[in-house]
Structure formats: C-alpha cells, structure tokens
Symmetry: C2
Subunit: 398 residues, 2 copies
C-alpha cells in the first residue's frame, strides 16, 4: 500500500540543506509504488504537531530543482526537541494521530513507519559520518574570506591595521575555525593563529604569538571559534565584556580579543563576525558538499523504501590516494548524543594551528564550485507555492 512520506528539517540550517530536500523529493518520485506524496513539516516537527503539512507534490519540478541553490530551510526549521516517549506520550500520540490522518505511520504505536535521520550541520561534529553536509560550504566560505581579508590587511599593514580577527561559529568543535587554514598555499601564509574550543585559551602565549607574527610578517590574521574558553572553562565571549547596563554581552569573541590586543599590545586591529553569513553563503558553496547533501537525501529515500529504520545515511571516505566517497547506513544509536571534536593529532604543538594531516582531511570537502544563477545582481530565487494539506484534525495544544 502506498504511503505518504514526511520530511522535517531540524535545528540550524545550512546553505545546502534544501539541496538535500530537493534530492529527496525527486528520488521519492522514482518510487511511486511505495511513496505517494512527500509532505514537509512547516517549521520541522512543529508542522507535524500542528498538522501544518506542506504538500511538495504541488510544486513544479523546476521549483523543486531550484532548491539546489537556495540557502536556509525553505520549509522552516525549529529548535524543538521531543522528549522521550515515557516523558511526553501525548506528543507522540499526536504525531501518530496526524500521521494516521494523512497516511503516514509509526511502528511503536501500531502504525508502520521507517524513520531515517539525514545528516546536516555546519559544525561537522556528528559521529560516524566522515563529514557533515553543510560544513564543506561553510568551510569554503571561511577559507575564501580569510584569504581575501588577509590580502586586504597585508596591503594596509605598513601604516594601518596590523591585526585582523575573524570570528566564526563553533560552540564546542573548532572545525569551522580550522578550515580557515585551507586559505594557505604556503606554511607562512595567513591565518597565523587559529583559536579552537579544543584548546584552552592561553592569553600570554596568544599575545606573544601575535607580537612575533607582526614582527615577522608585518601583520597577523587570527581566526577564532565563538566557543573558545579560558582556563576556568568560561567562554571568552562571556567572560569579561559587559555593556553599559551591566549586562554580559552576547557573542563576540572577536570584540573581546580586539579589546585585549588594544590594551596589552596597542596594535591597531579590525574584526569581523561572520555569524549566519557563513552558514548561508550558498553563493560560494562547495561542489563536494552539495553532492554529499544530495546523496544523503537520495539514500534516505532508498533506505526508507527498503524498510530500514533508525538509520542515517553517512558519508564514508574511501581509503584511496585521491578523494572519493560513498554513502552507507549507520545506526542512529551510534550517532545520537556524540560530539566529534577535532582530534589532538590534527592540532599543532603550540595549539594555534592545524597540521597537514588535518589539511588532508579538510581539503577535499571544499573542492569544486557550484555558483547559483544570478538575476538582477543577486542570487536568483524561485517562488514556491508551499501549500498546506487541508487539515483533518482539531487544533493541537501542547
């Protein structure tokens, strides 16, 4: 019997999560005997609870294909974590109610369902998978931006800015900061200092390193993870900076470091915070990353129609000299609640950089360009209808 499929985005979005959605929707059309329509939850799982199901079958094929170059989450995402079945049975009962009403199912509560989780995160911190879709594009953006800004700083350093700080995302894992090292062609090239949450911040060594770097090259480029912590385990961004009202200021490891450099070294400096720009920069996405994102979408459908459940299609790197990869299923139980940080073996002895082993891991992930189509000077977006399936149930309240 034909079933409808339910697709929901969750948590922070990426510049290629919609590419996963597009690939999944298009692949579903190849399995018409098993999958009827793909319903996308409006704002992720909230769409299921609220019975707000977007009928993707109402979209044209070209509209679906256009998602390949649209950053953000077109159906909406959410930061909502369902509690366990024990803790909040009511929520699960509602999900089953909605799924039943719209011909979607759930195994545990007497309704057949196959649940496939699809990887995505710019943080690149999921276990088992070699890398996470979304990360390669953020990494390419960071490497490109670091390269470009470094050329700017180098031009001006004789009489103006000596130190430039770029703050990137990464609360617990420093993969994004580390990827700035891909801007280097030569080992002396910027970035000169990379601050990762995996390494405790040592103020004295940090300031010495800046002084030495400016002396040697005339300028110093620093890329810092938002999640860098001091010896007391506190985020630098929160540790010292208060606004005029006495409130601790949100975010801002870059302004913190800038202030420190002003005070202790009196070196003119500039800082940038890339925030959402880095995770939505589809205009400079990595082709490798985009292909990963599409592949996991395609395999999610294949696993579902095979009747697999509780698995994730993960990216496996083949053990060959030239980079190649494949998709394999991995049990969710091995992935959930594990955080993959940068291993010590990737970090240089002084803690301010990554080594060639890390570069060899990272480099393939940013290879290739897939520029979006531009219209009127900006990336072209297609309009989607985003029509909701007519409701059949009563309004939900938690």
């Amino acid at each position: 019997m034909k079933k409808n499929a339910f697709y929901a985005q969750s948590g922070g979005v990426t510049s290629v999560i919609n590419a996963t959605a597009a690939a999944l929707i298009l692949e579903s059309k190849k399995h018409k005997s098993k999958i009827d329509k793909v319903y996308a939850g409006k704002n992720g799982i909230l769409g299921a609870l609220n019975e707000e199901l977007i009928d993707t079958s109402k979209e044209s094929i070209s509209a679906i294909k256009s998602l390949r170059s649209r950053p953000g989450g077109v159906f909406g995402s959410c930061r909502v974590k369902l509690k366990s079945l024990k803790e909040n049975k009511k929520e699960y009962e509602r999900l089953v109610e909605v799924f039943k009403a719209h011909n979607i199912g759930c195994k545990k509560l007497g309704y057949p369902i196959n649940c496939i989780a699809i990887p995505k995160t710019v943080d690149n911190d999921l276990a088992v998978t070699d890398c996470c879709p979304g990360f390669g594009s953020a990494a390419k953006y960071i490497a490109t931006s670091t390269l470009e800004a470094s050329l700017d700083v180098a031009s001006m350093s004789e009489t103006s800015t000596k130190v430039f700080i770029l703050e990137v995302m990464g609360r617990h894992a420093g993969w994004m900061a580390a990827s700035s090292a891909l801007a280097r062609k030569d080992k002396n090239d910027p970035p000169h200092i990379i601050l990762m949450p995996e390494v405790v911040f040592n103020q004295r060594k940090f300031l010495t390193k800046i002084k030495d770097t400016v002396k040697k090259y005339g300028y110093c480029v620093i890329v810092a993870s938002e999640g860098v912590k001091n010896t007391k385990g506190k985020f630098l961004a929160e540790s010292n900076t208060k606004d005029a009202f006495g409130h601790t200021q949100l975010g801002g490891v870059a302004p913190y470091l800038s202030s420190l450099i002003n005070k202790k070294l009196k070196l003119k400096n500039h800082w940038a915070v890339s925030d959402y720009l880095q995770r939505s920069a589809r205009h400079v996405a990595s082709k490798t990353d985009l292909l990963h994102a599409e592949a996991v979408g395609i395999y999610a459908v294949r696993y579902a129609v095979k009747g697999m459940n509780g698995v994730m299609p993960v990216i496996v790197r083949n053990k060959k000299k030239n980079y190649s990869w494949k998709i394999e299923p991995a049990p969710l139980s091995k992935i959930a609640n594990v955080e993959k940080k940068i291993p010590k073996s990737f970090i240089t002895k002084d803690g301010f950089n990554i080594n060639s082993k890390a570069i060899n891991y990272l480099r393939p992930l940013i290879i290739g360009e897939v520029f979006p189509e531009f219209e009127e000077g900006i990336p072209k977006l297609s309009n989607l209808k985003l029509l909701l399936v007519p409701k059949r149930l009563k309004k939900w309240s938690a």
Copy 2:
C-alpha cells in the same frame, strides 16, 4: 623623450583596485613612445619617499592579468597624507629627487609631470563621479549576504532567532548599508530596517519598528552602517559599550543594537560584522564594477599621455533608460575634500529605508558576475615577483 610612470595606491583598498592597476599597466604598454616602465610605489606614496619602486615591467603579462581577480592592494597601500607644499617642502623635494633619479617628473619644481588621480572607494562618497570603483562589488556582497542570511533567519524564526543585524562599513555615508535593499524582490522582503549615518538614530522609533516587523513577518532583518549616530552626534558604537576594563569598545554598532534589543524587547537576536570581508570579497564582485575599475585605469594613462594634469577619470551615467556609462575627465579641485552622502530624496519618510529612486541608481552597479578562478577550493592567486628598482639615492628620513 620617454618617461617612466609612477603608480601608487592610497587609503583603504577594494576588491577591484588591482584590476585598475592591471588595466593601467597593460594600457601603458600601448603607449611605448611616451611611457617606458610603470613603477608601483611599495605601500603607495611611501614607496616614492623610501625609493622603494616595484618594477612592474619585470612581471609576466599573465601575472599582470591575474591581478584582475586579486583583492587587496598587491603593491601595498598606506594611510599617509602629504602635507601641503608650504607645510612640508622637504617631502616634495624628496619626491622630486626620487622621480628625477628614476626618470619620473614634477611640474611645480621644474620637472614635467602629469598627475592623474584614479577613483576607488567602497564608501562611494566621491563627488562628481556617478559611482566609485570598489563600491559596486561591496554592494553586491552586502545584497547577496543580506539575502542569504535572511533566508536563514526566516527558517528559524518560529522557535529561535527573531532579529538579525548585519553591520557594514560606512563611517559618514550609508551607501553600503543602503545597498542591502538590493536583496529585495518584493517591497515586503528583508532587509526591514536600514540604518544610515545620514539619519539620526531614534531609539524609540527603531524599537517600535522591530516589534511591528516581527509581529507582521515573524522576524526582522536590520542592516546598520558602522557610522550611525545618536541625537547627540555620537557614534552608537562608541556611545555606551565598555569592556570589563572600562575602555570604550572599538567598533560594534551591531553588538550595541543586539544588547539594546535584548534589554528592551527581549527578542532573541544574532549579529554579524562584515568589516574587511565586504571590501575584499572579490569572489562575488560585480562585473559592472570591475569594468568601471578597469576603464578608469585605462583612461588615467590616456589622460597622462595627452598631457593632462590634476584630473580624475570619472564615471558618467548616460541619461538613457537602459544603464550605460562613459569615462570623462573631471578637475580634482571639484572632487577633493567633498563627501557625497545619500541624498534625502533617496531615503523613505520614516528614515529606515531607501526608495525606488535609490534602487534605480544602485541596481546597475551590482549587475553581472565575474567569479575568479578557483584552485584547491579557494580563489587562485598568481605569484608576482614584486622586484624593486635598484636604489640610487641615500636613505630617506622624514
């Protein structure tokens, strides 16, 4: 008699200033009867004072052409302003000494020279010229980034970030902030609020506008010039925020606004500061801007060989329905020390946006893409020799 030409970059660099240099060097080769070599000052005018002249004739044609896609100032720039001839005759005498020694000249001190100034600034605030090379590419970067980040925020707004703030450059003129409006296809699209230095910041109206926008669209995107001032004429970025040491924090209108929104509206928000990224983002440069940058380089040479002096090649917009432009010479006296701000007629009544007249002016400047070549996942850079001409004079000290 054949002379050498001297070329110096000055002040803040752009993503296309090297394209101007490349066009100028290549055009010079077409006037071999008048121009022998082009010497580039190392770090701008400092190169002349220090007799550090980079011999561009030693570079291969392909290396010069590669400058078309290299951001920053490849010969180095500087923030040094020569005083008037009256105030510091010694400096001018040194320049003449260096110019004489290397077959370059100076009219006022008995040596024939033609001085041509070439426009460049991401601030777009030069008088007479319709626009400034460097601006169009920064504007394209800002419009693209605003579009992409807005899609991200829109996806998450139901349960997470409601307000996003992007801080852009512009100390006195808001052209860069205004260009974020080019991200819009429809009048209701983000950015919802643009803060320009031309409009005094009104906190009450600002907070009300955010509240109304979040109510209407679920989220609010703000683009703010670093130079926004309060009613007392003080930069917001400096007005209230102090670090833990009691020092006024440098930069940061975005964290200031974030802090304000936290306190007064309690709305979850995120902020980004694009800083040097926006002015070096050659990877998303505007083709129109690049063509402008090249044309002013070419015309600078043509004016010089014609014997013109004290002029600037400016961009003139033809008065036709479809955008077209030409280069004309304008006297420097009309350009120096004048700042072209956004006219009132471009700004909406509430002061938070620009109107269709402004859009019509701005849109053509970001049209067209000229992606650089990528290698190993990042923009490809060619190596230049940057060889100095052997010195003939004693060391200079100011």
